[in-house]
């Protein structure tokens, strides 16, 4: 069981981070975005990679983490989006998710694109990944 001070630490950690959820299945996106907001994160939603790129390029929006599905309609799937982010916004962390088993193998060759979370995922596992990534980022010189 977490102590009160641990809970407060977690909430203050969450409130300082902004997550962009990229998912074309609207109901799946609403559920995870809501969950992350309930955990204290500021969350923006994008329905595809084009919207994600627009948000990342917006001058008044600072995004810390992109949580994106791999399978998306359009020219840019989640892998391509992750590569674009790495090239243009190297400070933004990426977590990919996929329901296709083969994607995990591809993701392993794209380790710079970040760890892959298999669908269906438990919402708490997304929070755990976010916390791991931000903790790792905080310890980097």
């Amino acid at each position: 069981m977490s102590t009160i001070s641990e809970t407060l630490d977690f909430q203050s950690d969450a409130s300082t981070h902004t997550i962009l959820v990229v998912e074309h299945e609207v109901l799946a996106r609403l559920v995870i975005a809501d969950y992350l907001r309930d955990c204290g994160y500021k969350v923006f939603e994008a329905a595809n990679s084009d919207e994600a790129v627009t948000m990342l390029q917006a001058p008044d929006v600072a995004i810390d983490i992109v949580f994106s599905d791999v399978q998306m309609p359009g020219d840019m799937d989640g892998f391509r989006l992750a590569r674009w982010i790495r090239a243009h916004h190297p400070g933004v962390r990426v977590i990919l998710t996929s329901g296709v088993e083969r994607s995990a193998d591809i993701a392993a060759t794209l380790c710079e694109a970040g760890p892959l979370l298999e669908k269906p995922y438990a919402p708490q596992s997304v929070v755990d990944r976010i916390r791991q990534l931000m903790a790792k980022a905080a310890t980097k010189p």
Partner: protein, 137 residues
């Protein structure tokens, strides 16, 4: 009872709003401001996604751009909501100059012309939902 003796109390539980807008920057900005006022906000970027949400969730207010990608436009979604979910409030937006001349526009909902100030939209939302506006908070 005189009209002056009737008091309208602000509602307690947060209403649910569905914002349907294909301009992601506008959508995120509007949704962000609505959430900051304690409202429950769902968002969709097309009419198809709007129908998917409406099929599962009852909303108190629909804010929708008239011109949307998808198999049907925003006006179709708004008419569907008006006919199916009578009590749901509807706010329609558009930047097209001919939009205000849509024949049944006033029967469908309140029209807010684009570009709008978010504060202007929030005032309309507060009035439609009897929810405190920024100046009341």
């Amino acid at each position: 009872m005189s009209a002056a003796s009737v008091t309208s109390f602000p509602r307690r539980s947060p209403p649910t709003i569905l914002v349907v807008e294909d301009d992601v920057i506008t959508r995120c900005h509007v949704c962000d401001e609505l959430r900051a006022r304690g409202l429950k906000v769902l968002e969709a970027n097309s009419s198809d996604d709007a129908f998917a949400v409406l099929d599962r969730v009852r909303v108190d207010l629909l804010i929708i751009d008239i011109h949307l990608p998808g198999s049907r436009d925003g006006l179709d979604v708004a008419r569907f909501v008006r006919d199916r979910f009578g009590p749901t409030q509807i706010i329609l937006t558009s930047g097209r100059p001919d939009a205000p001349r849509i024949p049944d526009l006033d029967d469908v909902g309140v029209f807010v012309k684009k570009p709008y100030l978010v504060e202007q939209l929030l005032e309309v939302v507060s009035r439609r939902l009897n929810w405190p506006s920024a100046s009341d908070m």
